[in-house]
Symmetry: C2
């Protein structure tokens, strides 16, 4: 498989991107080509620091970078030679199977939707983020691609999320929940009540509403919501986890005895930290476009990039998109037309 | 001050409610009367277990209880002799100044709005929840009273939240943020963009959009959003914190060495736990009704009840409602009419 990697995206580009790419090229056996897209000089400089660069790693020059403050669709149209646009073009032109970026999320969504087009049966592509819970990974769709969206889209989100959970996390008949503010069908907003109705009729293992309290309980495999709510849930969760780890560190370094205690319990604390680390989950997938598209955190380290490339590879290996199209075709035609 | 306390609300009623009431009656000097409302027999039985019951503690019999699955407005209308309805009636009839309940949130909101009426200048009462952040308490409004609401209401939420933050947490010129999915004014939904506009023009210390990432950073005193989003943020945050403490406990008990470490660092771990404990924050206030109304967690222990009564007392002492009406009167008449 061939993966295009935006070398200029994220806070630590290109250094961490290149380092993650080198590791991926060394460790992921199915990878036949990993194309670093971006400023050739900067990328080469980073590559020079590695003794051995695997042959499958190549560079494609792109002279521009889409900055975080730019408007997504406009930036994609204007900066034709940006690393994101060029990386997506590689998939569009059949020179790569997947694209990975830690850059501008909106530009990735706009670029992939415009250039790669939607899969058959998909009205709007959606972002699937993965969250750790007490006993299994949770897929949250939509985590930000569609801040405002029709309740009917929730069915597509749920189907795409279920296929993802089934293929990547091996959940058979993934349990789907609708994010709302009460367990009963009638709780929530007009939109969630309408979505409840659509979800009940779809070929899904739909279990009804879930509340904020339930998100991290690990009783649901897929949670659906609009992109506004999903983005806030995702970022708030990261914010809480960050604050807790900050407090914990401060508390545990306040007296010599606590410091000694923390040193003895170090294994447990490290394993906690790893579990909470969003990087090991490989970023979020943009589901519903004709090509595999992985978007990782702006703060991505080389480790996050490695896992993002790994997830892109797994999605290709399991033919995620073929399964999505298949499952969406089972929807009633009336429900499928938006 | 005189406070009515729903003795039948919450998972651990009436035992924990009564225990919290006894402690409040003993420790809060300004309390002249604390009225336990609910089944007289059960309350008396609990009171019997205390050697000394302060004189200010009295009981008002109410024969019914509003159950969690009941529809709020309907339940309030039908169960006229429920503990929630009777407790609110005490405020309505001038026999109490504030009401506290760990019971049905929706019934408290509906009951207080119907019976106590709104304050002058308030279109819709809103729930203000308090969250711990890295360096100061954060007031989140609306945390669930108005799942669907007009963008213009955000200004009222912000003003009420600012008064609360100013009086109770002594923040001068509290910093207000609008919860959205990007820092720029244009990010978000039509509703948040409209709210941004209203907030910019209001007599507030408005700093613009805040994202989920910012919630626990401690750079904002008041965050406003609709009740759907607010409820999900609040409950998700509690869910994350709960999951993390669960993992931490499990990790730290896995080997004898980790156990020893945890024992040595115990002070730090306990102080972490306390900091994350929503109970010490005294529950949420229903702002905008003509009377002080505190709603605490269904899982409230006696400690939570004590703090809820304390917060009700502080709100009375600082004449929260008088200040809210004053601040709302500063709004442009055009902005104030909804």
């Amino acid at each position: 498989m061939r993966i295009a990697l935006d070398a200029m995206g994220g806070d630590h580009a290109p250094r961490e991107i290149v380092a993650g790419a080198v590791r991926a090229a060394q460790e992921l056996p199915g990878l036949t080509r990993l194309i670093l897209v971006g400023d050739e000089q900067s990328i080469s400089r980073e590559l020079d620091s590695f003794k051995h660069v695997p042959d499958c790693l190549t560079v494609l020059h792109a002279s521009e970078v889409i900055e975080m403050h730019e408007k997504p669709a406009q930036a994609i149209r204007r900066k034709k030679d940006s690393s994101i646009a060029r990386a997506i073009d590689l998939v569009k032109d059949g020179e790569a199977d997947a694209v990975v970026s830690a850059g501008h999320t909106g530009a990735m969504v706009a670029g992939a939707t415009l250039k790669l087009r939607r899969l058959k049966g998909v009205s709007r592509p959606a972002i699937a983020a993965v969250l750790p819970t007490e006993n299994r990974p949770l897929v949250l769709v939509d985590a930000g691609a569609n801040p405002e969206c029709d309740a009917r889209l929730f069915t597509e989100f749920a189907i795409m999320g279920s296929v993802y959970s089934g293929l990547i996390f091996k959940q058979s008949a993934p349990i789907v929940g609708l994010l709302s503010i009460g367990e009963e069908e009638l709780k929530g907003t007009e939109k969630t009540r309408e979505a409840f109705d659509y979800l009940s009729k779809a070929p899904l293992n739909f279990r009804g509403n879930v509340e904020g309290h339930d998100v991290f309980k690990g009783e649901t495999d897929v949670i659906v919501c609009d992109g506004f709510t999903g983005n806030i849930v995702l970022k708030t969760s990261e914010s809480v986890a960050g604050a807790i780890m900050f407090w914990l560190k401060r508390e545990l370094s306040q007296t010599p005895m606590r410091k000694l205690g923390a040193a003895l319990a170090r294994g447990g604390l490290v394993s906690m930290k790893e579990r909470l680390d969003p990087e090991s989950y490989g970023g979020a997938l943009l589901l519903g476009v004709n090509g595999v598209c992985v978007i990782t955190h702006g703060a991505s380290s080389s480790n996050a990039i490695f896992h993002a490339v790994r997830v892109a590879g797994e999605s290709l290996e399991h033919q995620l998109n073929t399964h999505i199209v298949e499952q969406l075709s089972l929807l009633e035609p009336e429900a499928a037309t938006l």
